[in-house]
Amino acid sequence: MNKYLLSKKIVINELSTFYSFLIGLSIGIGIGSIILLTQGQNPIEVFSLMLRLSVGSVKSISTSLNKAIPLILAGLGISIINSVKLWNIGAEGQIFMGGIALNFLYINTEISSPNLMIVYLLITSFIGGAVCILFPAIAKVLFGVNEIITTLLFNYIIIGLTIYLVNGPWKDPGSLNFPAATYVGKEVYLPTVFGRLSYGFIICFLCTIGVHYLKEKSVFGYELRISGGSALTAIYAGINAKQKAFIAMLIGGGLAGLAGGVELLSQTHRVSTGLSQGFGYTAIIVAAITGMRPFGIFLVGSLFGALTIGGSVIQTMGVSSYIADVIQATTLFGALIAQFFFTYKIIKVSEDV
């Protein structure tokens, strides 16, 4: 008989995803330090600078949190869709589509009340994201087409559409070296609090609470859970599992679209290929690593915002901003590895006869 055996734990610590993340973070920082050392940098100096510039003041915290908004919103959308055990790999495209839809409404409407306009624009971005996932959702519920693949492929279609728009119909003649659409007017910029923090963050926090409620406390969330647990049980219970999955996908896509809308109105102020820097993909990982818990996504998303800001500011020290990406990725791998030890145990086999 073998010496060891692997066994699944029955009771898993409820905070295990949080602990896993902390363990992952220390692994990430450790590996980041080693890379910094090989580049002739003092890790402590670099990290303390990163810390200072990302969370050292109200201003820098605001910048970090602003960066976290699209991650959190898209992550929340992914977590809703995952309630029915479906994946949305298309958040990246949905973010762009949110921006595109918003811009479309903006250039085709007369503005009478800017504040009301902002609301309309954001709603439109939500609809844009939902429209972007519409085809994968229909293909999934009607024909069972794998949603991982269709949502993934739609990213390329939407990003292609973005490139087309910013090089063609929407091209800003003033933007020479970087193709982009014309800026939206200042009157529809999202207002800020504490100097820099965008109202988007408040939207983000409200969405977190909303998604938590929807998933955990509502009838809809219950029906999603049952449908996700077993489609047959849902049918047996008289729950229209396909309809619920469809709605969940639209909401999830919509939230990613909203992420694009908020990002546009608060950060980039125009449609370009820079509207999302891989937020849609990072959001998937953030959502997964937190066990799809809304408040976990809020927390880890915020941390990742800080890490990204920290990464971009250390460029001034001559350190590549990619180091932040490496730390992010190793943190995530570290968290996955740690998660294994929270869900499995290794038992030594005895042979006493």
Binding site: N2, V219, R225, I226, S230, T233, A237
Partner: protein
């Protein structure tokens, strides 16, 4: 007595909180058929899975031909000559018969596949070509391929887990002949797992009995033990209660008229012109080997399957065109065959699962009251004595008996008018079975019309007031309890109707 070929000592294995095996000793004689008897959940499958290298025990050692086995996995086990046929077949559906028979590294018919296949198709009276994909085979054929797989891998020790569960009595008989041939002519050592006494007595030379993970009897010579002794060993002291059959029958509560159903997705048997009636206070037994349309019938009655022709009438109301919720309103309960997967959603908490039938009673608009759900679960736990310590734990952490109690409690607590129960006690230990039978009879006495779908003839004979036999989507025979006997019902189940 032949030589001992395999010996397992002091095997202990647990799954989470439940001990599947406790210090079990087990051994096998060469060229002999052994019966491993025990109730469902006694640990038979776990023990076989350990011998074939699938599960690792926490404690214990294994000797083959007197030599200690240092490391074991399915590959090593196969090379040591141990092979197992699992209850759920381990065949690759998209692959041909030939691929499935030759993939293993232990395969000895690499160069002489055709002769081998011919020889053993003969022994097993198998008539399909070896290039046929597994997905096109019948259950019986698949099983033959599974056993052949062991032969092709030169496995001297063949562990068969409930091989007769999916077979008709006639197929079972044929299997018996093939196995005897294999042990006598090819010198195979065979272990047959079953909880059916009749088969143990007909098939085997020696009997081992497991009860609650403990080996309670070893080495019994089959010809020297009686059925009653085996029952006592297997179940301990049981109170096999007789069911009163003096129940008052009322009006027709469930009527089905001319139901026909065609499954467009696959070639699953269709239903042809089925009609039946169940009265208040009556239990109608539906006998049949699984896969003969019982599930489809139950799904139609419960409103899950909507594409059919014919009428479903509950309490005088024609609800043929309505869905699941209309049945819920008429207080119809359905206990599906597949308890984890249909009746209960795996991966979802106990509390969520307890509310599947009545969750809309805990809603205020879009809000779902957590407190109401918890109260409801607590009532179920109390009334049906369910052991479920943590409501938030996944439902699959419950034992089979507690899962079924949760499911049946949920469906029966509202004293339904009509109950459709499919295989309600499959895979449960005898005490749980007794408790669940009592529940069904209690509902009958309260005036429910019960349709009991089961493969277990003992259960059907014990509970039913009438028995209908289904075969290939048709009702082939109806028996009143006076005229029904196991043999004629068995023949009807096999489609051999006089």
């Amino acid at each position: 007595m032949n030589q001992i070929i395999l010996e397992a000592k002091n095997i202990t294995k647990s799954f989470g909180n439940t001990n599947a095996l406790k210090n079990v000793d087990f051994y096998l004689y060469e060229s002999t058929i052994h019966g491993l008897l025990g109730e469902n959940g006694a640990g038979k499958s776990s023990l076989m899975n350990i011998l074939s290298g699938i599960y690792q025990p926490e404690n214990g050692s294994l000797y083959i031909d007197g030599e200690k086995v240092k490391k074991l996995n399915p590959d090593i086990a196969s090379k040591l000559g141990i092979g197992m046929v699992h209850q759920e077949f381990r065949l690759i559906d998209n692959f041909s018969i030939k691929d499935n028979l030759t993939l293993s590294k232990a395969n000895i018919y690499t160069n002489s596949f055709h002769e081998g296949y011919e020889k053993y198709s003969d022994i097993f009276s198998l008539t399909v070509n070896y290039s046929t994909p597994i997905s096109e085979l019948s259950v019986g054929e698949k099983q033959k391929i599974e056993i052949m797989k062991l032969i092709f891998n030169n496995n001297k020790i063949m562990l068969l887990d409930e091989p007769t569960a999916v077979l008709t009595p006639q197929e079972t008989n044929q299997l018996k002949i093939s196995l005897k041939k294999l042990s006598k002519e090819d010198g195979k050592t065979i272990v047959l797992i079953t909880h059916k006494l009749k088969e143990i007595q007909e098939f085997t030379d020696y009997i081992f009995v497991l009860k609650d993970g403990v080996m309670v009897a070893k080495d019994l010579e089959t010809k020297n033990v009686t059925k009653n002794e085996l029952i006592t060993l297997m179940m301990g002291e049981i109170k096999q209660s007789e069911i009163r059959k003096d129940n008052q029958k009322g009006t027709n509560k469930l009527e089905i008229e001319n139901i026909s159903f065609e499954n467009t997705h696959s070639n699953v048997p269709t239903l042809e012109n089925l009609s039946l009636k169940v009265r208040a206070g009556e239990i109608l037994g539906i006998a049949g080997v699984s896969g003969n349309g019982q599930v489809e019938l139950a799904n139609i009655i419960s409103g899950i399957e909507r594409e059919y022709s014919g009428k479903v009438i509950v309490n005088g109301k024609n609800i043929s065109n309505q869905g699941v919720s209309s049945r819920k309103n008429l207080n119809l309960s359905y206990i599906p065959e597949n308890r984890l997967g249909v009746g209960l959603a795996p991966g979802v908490s106990i509390i969520d699962n307890s509310a599947v039938k009545d969750y809309y009673k805990a809603r205020f608009g879009p809000h779902l009251s957590g407190n109401k759900m918890l109260n409801y679960l607590n009532i179920l736990i109390k009334q049906f004595s369910i052991k479920a310590p943590n409501p938030k734990a996944e439902v699959s952490t419950l034992s089979g008996g507690n899962m079924q109690k949760l499911l049946m409690g949920r469906e029966l607590i509202s004293n339904p008018e009509v109950i459709i129960a499919a295989q309600p006690t499959r895979g449960l230990d005898v005490n749980a079975v007794e408790a669940l039978h009592d529940l069904i009879v209690m509902q009958r006495d309260k005036g429910a019309a019960v349709m009991l779908i089961s493969e277990d003839l003992d259960e059907l004979f014990k509970l039913s007031d009438r028995i209908i036999v289904m075969y290939e989507g048709r009702i082939v025979k109806e028996f009143s309890m006076d005229e029904a006997d196991i043999e004629s019902v068995g023949l009807a189940m096999a489609g051999l109707n006089e």
